[in-house]
């Protein structure tokens, strides 16, 4: 099958790749662009490990075709820190031990950032429902939820 040329913006950089029309955006990010931070846990939209933003919308990149990224902007975990300056969520995840194996972490960070951008003071319940599409098998979510709450407080300018 012939491939399709795709031009898109990933984490602020303009990139091009050739995609098989059957390939997911996740496959293209990982295998065409070498951005392996987004993970495949299921390939069916059930685990959230592949979460990215597509024109600002939180999506499972395993459910988006690579060719759909044409002309759009994509944000992945690799673009979350500003150089060496971590996003508060990233820092709080390490501080709170909110990761064990860390495989779910990129997707959860991307999803949590999307939450905090639209709700800077989420309740525990709101965080739990927002992240209900992101499976973590290691932590039992306790420390993840605490890390998100703490990062939100810091972003609001409240002392922890």
């Amino acid at each position: 099958m012939s491939k399709i040329h795709v031009t898109t913006t990933v984490n602020g950089d303009q990139v091009e790749f050739l995609a098989d029309p059957r390939e997911s955006l996740l496959d293209c990010l990982r295998d065409r662009l070498g951005l392996t931070g987004s993970k495949e846990g299921c390939g069916t939209g059930d685990c959230g490990a592949c979460s990215v933003r597509l024109d600002g919308t939180l999506v499972c990149s395993c459910l988006v075709l690579g060719v759909e990224a044409e002309g759009k902007t994509v944000e992945t975990i690799e673009g979350m820190a500003n150089g060496n300056e971590l996003h508060p969520l990233q820092r709080k995840f390490v501080e709170h031990a909110a990761l064990q194996c860390g495989f779910c972490t990129p997707g959860i960070l991307v999803a949590a950032k999307a939450l905090l951008e639209q709700n800077d003071n989420p309740t525990e319940t709101e965080i739990r429902y927002w992240l209900a599409g992101n499976l973590c098998r290691c932590t039992g979510y306790d420390k993840i939820v605490r890390a998100v709450m703490d990062a939100a407080a810091e972003l609001r300018g409240e002392a922890a």
């Binding site: 098989d20 059957r22 390939e23 496959d27 990982r30 295998d31 951005l35 392996t36 931070g37 987004s38 993970k39 495949e40 846990g41 299921c42 390939g43 069916t44 939209g45 059930d46 685990c47 992945t76 975990i77 690799e78 979350m80 820190a81 971590l86 820092r91 995840f93 390490v94 501080e95 709170h96 031990a97 990761l99 064990q100 194996c101 860390g102 495989f103 779910c104 972490t105 990129p106 960070l109 525990e124 965080i127 739990r128 429902y129 992240l131 209900a132 599409g133 992101n134 499976l135 973590c136 098998r137 290691c138 932590t139 039992g140 979510y141 306790d142 420390k143 993840i144 939820v145 605490r146």
Partner: protein, 748 residues
């Protein structure tokens, strides 16, 4: 020497950032599927759609004719003549005469892209003769069940047993009949648990490379690179040392990544494709269909109790299926089942039974959760019947140091009583419950494990230290090992780097399993560090011209031991290390062996639930984990193990199960249908770390990974009884099952 007398450490017990944290929050950490190599091919696997079928013909010609396909392998590409577990592993990697379960690999193909490999796999034609199959353990043990592998039974199985029984276990002590006669209440019940999957979010993935010269390499997500090396070498008939296996970062394992499933296929394909590296990544449905879930169990338990709650006798008969291969953890289930109780009279019987399901693998405290479900459910029910507090009944019968364990050995230092007392004192027990709410408690046990361990450490030129361990870091073990080494050396935590190394760097290490990494690699690292310290003291002594025994190591520096040794200013690690080139060369330490002194870990959980009488849905309102860690080196990661174990247990209790159709096919092979707990299902998980130090470890570590999955199954069943009066004896306790039970009781 145990450091129990220390009440204060500088670093042990603190919560610094983990060393791999930055990589893991930035997406840089490299997991199994993140590796690519020059010239790499991609593989796909053809799997049986039948639960049990004879393979009549495999035609690979169409696949081979597809442009871009570089190799196809079937069982014919593997050596013959293997026996025992080596044969089992080979047979499970790729089917021989018969496909033994839905998802059993039959052929594999390597091509220049992943999509092409998948296209090629669809072109491989397999003719099957479908055979009768059996899925459920109670069906599989019937005398007229289809015989899955005649001749697979081992010597423990008495003559005349049903064909699928492959191992028989019978042990105990005392006189159970006399014990039951002494009881005021004797109860007997049957319980069932269904197979669940470890559910690690990272699917199995590897890149394998094997040349015609028999030399190969593998990058793989695994809990144990040496196990992968040996198993692949056995299955392929290679020289073990010619294979070099590098562990990637690992996206969860829980026991399921201690063995091989598809790894030899990538090597076999690579060899056939002229030695080009071959990447093989499972899909989620392949993970669920063809990698080791846990066993399912059918269990009968009988207990005798006096009016004051003393257990007079106990008997358990467990039947477990672990797929089409021997290895269901029925032995461990029995060893752990009554472990919290001091029993004069106890009898255990177990059957390991074959069924047409995937080969089971270890899952967190293998066997223990099932046994606990049965025993802790019955102890709870009897406590209620006798009007006794279930925690008091456990305190009355609880084992202490010096007691004989239900499974034979004598307990050393253990912390069950301390754990139960800490539970009793917790404020969660005072929270009032509303209508349809209930509280359940249960205890749990895991032995913990040591095993083959080899660790090297070395001092760098600037006085920082590197440690090479063979146990992959799944949940923070690099942090805990760095803390222990830094504490021992008297240097900052940040000055220690712990590396998980490939098989070429150390002697054989068992995997990160049995809750052993922080115990065994940690203990070996501390011993190795002691050797480096001794060497640094020797070099200081040489510089000062005094006897090396007159030098001691304090706070990261050598100093004369006492006034008689001479008056010299301390020589810091940095000063000694800076001169190592002139004073005798590298300074390092190495320790290997089977570290002794494993400390068992008991836990007790308390759960509050609310059962919706209209839907049968159970909500977890509150959850408490209390467990003896021995010593928490990095308490955040100890809590993390407690919380994660509890939540896996919650999933097992309420949702998770392998569901098979009449045709023997797995019906819920995606995460949408195999539903693991999500964030909105749960409250915070409260934890209490009890510390009864293990005298067998320099800092008192017991190992904390596994016990926590054991109590949730019965604790939740006990809470549901408290809320509804109904005793659920078959997991998972899904809403339809609970609702049906409510209706049957005339209350739904």
């Amino acid at each position: 020497m145990a450091k129990d007398e220390f009440t204060e450490f500088k670093l042990v017990g603190t919560r610094p950032d983990r060393p791999d944290g930055l990589d893991k929050v930035t997406g840089r950490a490299r997991y199994g599927a993140d590796m690519s190599m020059p010239g790499m091919l991609w593989a796909a696997v053809v799997r049986s759609p039948h639960a049990h079928a004879r393979i009549l013909r495999i035609d690979t010609s169409k696949a081979e004719a597809l442009e871009g396909v570089k190799a196809v392998v079937t069982r014919a590409d593997f050596p013959e003549g293997l026996t025992g577990e080596e044969w089992n592993l080979q047979e499970n990697t790729i089917a021989g005469d018969k496909a033994l379960y839905d998802g059993h690999a039959v052929a594999a193909v390597a091509a220049t892209s992943a999509l092409l490999a998948q296209d090629a796999a669809r072109l491989i034609e397999v003719d099957y003769e479908v055979l009768p199959h059996v899925i459920d353990v109670d069906d599989a043990i019937k005398p007229d069940a289809p015989a899955i592998r005649p001749g697979a039974a081992d010597a423990t199985v008495p003559e005349g047993m049903p064909a699928n029984v492959v191992r028989y276990i019978d042990f105990g002590h005392g006189d159970v009949d006399a014990g039951f006669a002494e009881a005021d209440l004797v109860m007997e019940r049957s319980y069932k648990t269904e197979a669940t999957h470890q559910g690690y979010i990272e699917p199995h993935a590897c890149v394998g490379q094997l040349g015609a010269d028999g030399k190969g390499e593998m990058w793989v997500c695994t809990q144990g690179q040496w196990y992968i090396r040996k198993m692949c070498a056995d299955v392929l008939g290679l020289e073990t040392a010619q294979l070099r296996v590098t562990p990637s970062e690992i996206g969860g394992g829980f026991g399921g990544k201690t063995t091989i499933f598809m790894e030899p296929l990538s090597l076999a394909l690579s060899r056939k494709a002229g030695g080009r590296p071959v990447k093989l990544v499972m899909t989620r449905s392949e993970v669920l269909r063809a990698t080791g879930p846990t066993a399912s169990a059918s269990m009968d338990v009988k207990i005798g109790m006096t009016k004051d709650g003393t257990i007079t006798a106990a008997r358990a008969e467990f039947r477990m299926q672990g797929g089409a291969f021997p290895g269901a953890p029925v032995d461990m289930a029995l060893y752990c089942a009554f472990a919290p109780y001091k029993l004069k009279n106890v009898h255990h019987i177990g059957y390991d039974v074959l069924a047409n399901r995937p080969k089971c693998a270890a899952y967190r405290a293998p066997g223990s959760p099932m046994g606990a479900f049965a025993v802790e459910s019955l102890v709870d029910e009897m406590s209620r019947e006798l009007g006794l507090d279930p925690l008091d009944v456990r305190l009355t019968n609880g084992v202490r140091e010096g007691d004989r364990a239900s499974y034979g050995p004598t307990f050393g230092s253990i912390g069950l009583i301390e754990t139960l007392e800490a539970t009793k004192a917790h404020p969660n027990l005072l929270v009032p419950l509303g209508p349809n709410q209930g509280r359940g408690i249960a205890a749990g046990y895991w032995f913990n494990h040591s095993g083959e361990t080899s660790v090297s450490m070395a001092i760098s030129e600037d006085g920082s230290a590197q440690v090479s361990v063979g146990t992959p870091d799944i949940g923070g073990s690099r942090a805990s090992i760095a803390l222990m080494v830094a504490e021992t050396l008297g240097i900052p935590y940040e000055d220690v780097r712990v590396n998980v190394v490939e098989t070429g760097s150390l002697g054989v290490n068992e995997p990160t399993h049995g809750s052993r990494a922080t115990f065994a690699s940690g203990k070996a690292a501390v011993v190795a560090t002691g050797q480096a310290i001794k060497e640094m003291c020797r070099r200081a002594a040489a510089e000062w011209g005094i006897d090396e025994d007159a030098v001691e190591w304090v706070n990261g520096a050598a100093q004369p031991a006492g006034p008689n040794a001479g008056k010299f200013p301390p020589l810091t690690i940095r000063e000694i290390a800076g001169k190592m080139g002139e004073t005798g060369g590298p300074i390092s330490g190495h320790h290997e062996g089977l570290p002794e002194g494993v400390g068992a870990s008991f836990g007790c959980h308390v759960v509050d639930v609310e059962v919706d009488p209209e839907t049968g849905h159970t909500t977890i309102l509150r959850y408490l984990v209390v467990q003896d860690a021995g010593r928490a080196i990095h308490p955040s990661y100890v809590e993390g193990q407690y919380q994660g174990g509890a939540v896996q247990g919650i999933g097992w209790a309420l949702n998770e199960e392998y569901i098979y159709g009449e045709d023997g096919r797995l019906q819920n092979a995606i995460f949408l249908d195999y539903r693991v707990p999500v964030a909105s299902d749960l409250p915070m998980i409260d934890t209490v770390i009890v510390e009864v130090p293990n005298p067998g470890h320099p800092f008192g570590v017991r190992g904390v990974g596994e016990t926590g999955i054991t109590p949730p199954l019965p604790a939740i069943a006990n809470a549901i009884q408290d809320a509804t009066g109904l005793r659920m004896t078959h997991l998972p306790m899904t809403p339809p099952k609970v609702l049906a039970a409510l209706k049957a009781a005339g209350r739904g």
